[in-house]
Symmetry: C2
Subunit: 400 residues, 2 copies
């Protein structure tokens, strides 16, 4: 008896031009285009195994070993249905193929980072789901075509179908068929882009991005200006900066757009805050770090960006990461030694400031204000993994 099973992993992506607002909440069509950097799966990834079997009674899914309900008409069901539909098209063209589209599927998915890290796992999760089913069904679809389906799971998931630097073109069609991800540049074009994720502790439960962005669409008087005038220009400018490997321009636009996303969140009624005093302090540190460089005739050396939460992601050329880690450690002592995947530090990382840095731009915080530091870099797109990586056992249930 043949086993029809495939395993894939997919990366996290962090946007430089932010997605905030849907023009169609069912199809997940955005009010503006967005652009992200795909992070390295060696450090952060979702892995998913999908199996189709005629003996399965219904579609089932386990997330980190816990079964999740696949709600009818929900986002998971939509993605599975769309991929089965594409499989059916393939089967109709080649009657020799097994009729996998008629079988139920079992899906097991895991993230290699804790949910408690506060990192959005829906993008990598839906991308891995789509990639594993596409591999199972041996679909001839391109990443952009698959991104149309991932988008319906979680908007930003569409950008995790590519590595490198990825745009989500908002499109204009009402059926969403042109709202998809495209590669601006692969990781190999600019592998020098590294990222430091500062996981920030927050004692306040934030507004979910799904409900928050629609409140912004309904109540912000500034959002329409952003959508119509600001984002289109920034998409062009940052795409050009990426093609030219111009970190100065990339950094400036990334920081401006993070700020503007949080500005329109604040312009919402009632206002939405995702950044807290720790987030603000990290911004002050990066602003000062850049100021010192520019004052000495240099260029911007780092760019912060914040999604719908207090965590900072700091993008920078690899050569600056040592200074940046030392800068953050100087203000945010860590309970655990810095995990140093790129071997920047010999004897262990210590807090330190670059010469000329005005230490008074922020106050030192206590242990735990920044809970964790993750050093990663630009990465590749979804990977199809070897059978031994499978997350489903021979019984079609998640491995322990």
């Amino acid at each position: 008896m043949a086993v029809y099973q495939a395993t894939a992993s997919a990366p996290v992506n962090i946007a430089c031009i932010k997605y905030w607002g849907k023009r169609d909440t069912k199809l997940i069509l955005p009010t503006n285009s967005s652009l992200s950097v795909t992070l390295d799966q060696d450090h952060l990834r979702s892995t998913t195994t999908s199996r189709a079997d005629s003996s399965f009674e219904k579609d089932r899914l386990w997330l980190n070993g816990v079964e999740e309900e696949i709600k009818e008409g929900g986002r998971l069901a939509t993605c599975i249905r769309e991929l089965k539909r594409l499989r059916k098209e393939v089967e109709e063209k080649d009657s020799s193929l097994p009729k996998l589209s008629s079988y139920a599927v079992h899906i097991s998915s895991r993230n290699n980072f804790p949910t408690a890290a506060g990192l959005a796992s829906s993008a990598s999760g839906f991308a891995a789901l789509v990639a594993s089913l596409a591999a199972l069904y041996q679909l001839p679809a391109s990443p952009s075509q698959l991104s149309l389906i991932a988008r319906q799971g979680s908007g930003s998931a569409c950008r995790s179908l590519f590595g490198g630097f990825v745009a989500w073109e908002m499109g204009s069609k009402s059926d969403g068929s042109d709202s998809l991800a495209v590669e601006i540049a692969p990781r190999e074009h600019w592998p020098d882009i590294h990222a430091l994720i500062c996981v920030v502790s927050d004692d306040k439960k934030g507004t979910s991005s799904t409900s928050g962005m629609q409140r912004t669409v309904e109540t912000s008087t500034l959002l329409q200006h952003r959508i119509k005038y600001v984002v289109p220009e920034r998409m062009k400018a940052i795409s050009a900066a990426i093609r030219a490997r111009d970190f100065e321009a990339f950094a400036r636009i990334t920081m401006q757009d993070s700020n503007q996303f949080h500005a329109v969140a604040l312009d919402t009624d009632p206002p939405i805050f995702y950044m807290n005093d720790v987030s603000r302090a990290i911004i002050a540190l990066i602003v000062e770090y850049n100021r010192v460089s520019v004052a000495a005739g240099g260029k911007l050396k780092a760019a912060y960006t914040y999604d719908a939460g207090p965590n900072a992601v700091i993008y920078a050329p690899k050569e600056n990461l040592k200074e940046i880690v030392e800068l953050i450690l100087n203000y945010f002592p860590q309970a655990e030694p810095f995990k140093d995947p790129f071997g920047l530090f010999g004897a262990g990382a210590q807090g330190k400031l670059v010469e000329g840095f005005n230490a008074a731009v922020a106050k030192p915080f206590g242990v735990g204000a920044v809970k964790n530091l993750i050093h990663t870099r630009v990465g590749d797109g979804p990977r199809v993994l070897a059978p031994e990586e499978a997350l489903l056992g021979p019984d079609g249930l998640p491995k322990a």
Copy 2:
């Protein structure tokens, strides 16, 4: 020998539609109109005595007993020069008047609230300066005419020339002659409007409003939309709300405009933050307090607003102030007992929540997070005070 001396006091004002951005930094001409509530001088005021004497060698000014330099071409010098010019016009029409315009002046000014309170004293200070010199010179100028001069001392000072509800019309002329304050309604029209000022501790030195607003003008891509489309509509709507004593509309616009001001500050490069985690928590409390009321079929009961700092000013009809003080005390314990100028509490104020309030919208803070609570209300415009209130002694120097 005649003594030419006058003393006046002037109030603080807190804007509901925020002033942020100058189109002319020398004349202090704003990029948008603004609107404020004048607070009661019985609680917060600046008092200024001005004396003209032929024996004085030069113009001198003392602020809270400390002499301040009157810089040539500076804002203080401009205000004094303009008032002397108006006096000269009066003297030219009536040659029997003493030639005070040719005398130097001594000016002594005091605020009855500590600078440490974090309340902007420049508005009440410049308004009191202008009011005292206008009284000394016996100028036939209207408050709006005087507001043209106060505006050149500190933009928002022009609004402190009136009591009640005051608009600063931005004007369009390049000489600034139509950029002045007008009364929307006197305090007697709506005396029920009370205010609770929450003085918030901040360990971070904020960006000065003078430099901050110009950085916003230069770098925010959202500000122009606010100036051109949002503020004009809000000015009309909130003026109508005040005329109709419609607290619901007044509150909604006030909160939206506070949020939008802070949104454009955040959209500045580098971003400007004035609110901190304590400010955010107070917003969350007021949002929840209003939610409970609306959920029970009622209306908005309070409105927060934040200037260029972390302090909250909460506007509300008098009848809600007891609940609001209790709400704030519930989360922000005070070192000193609540000063209760309106006698809301018999045995002393205690923290308490209204029925149905979701206590989890904010965490309780420690003593000192909110340093002080000041309960006041809408107030009158500048007052000319009796000679015995003078801040200058017979020698023309500040009284000890």
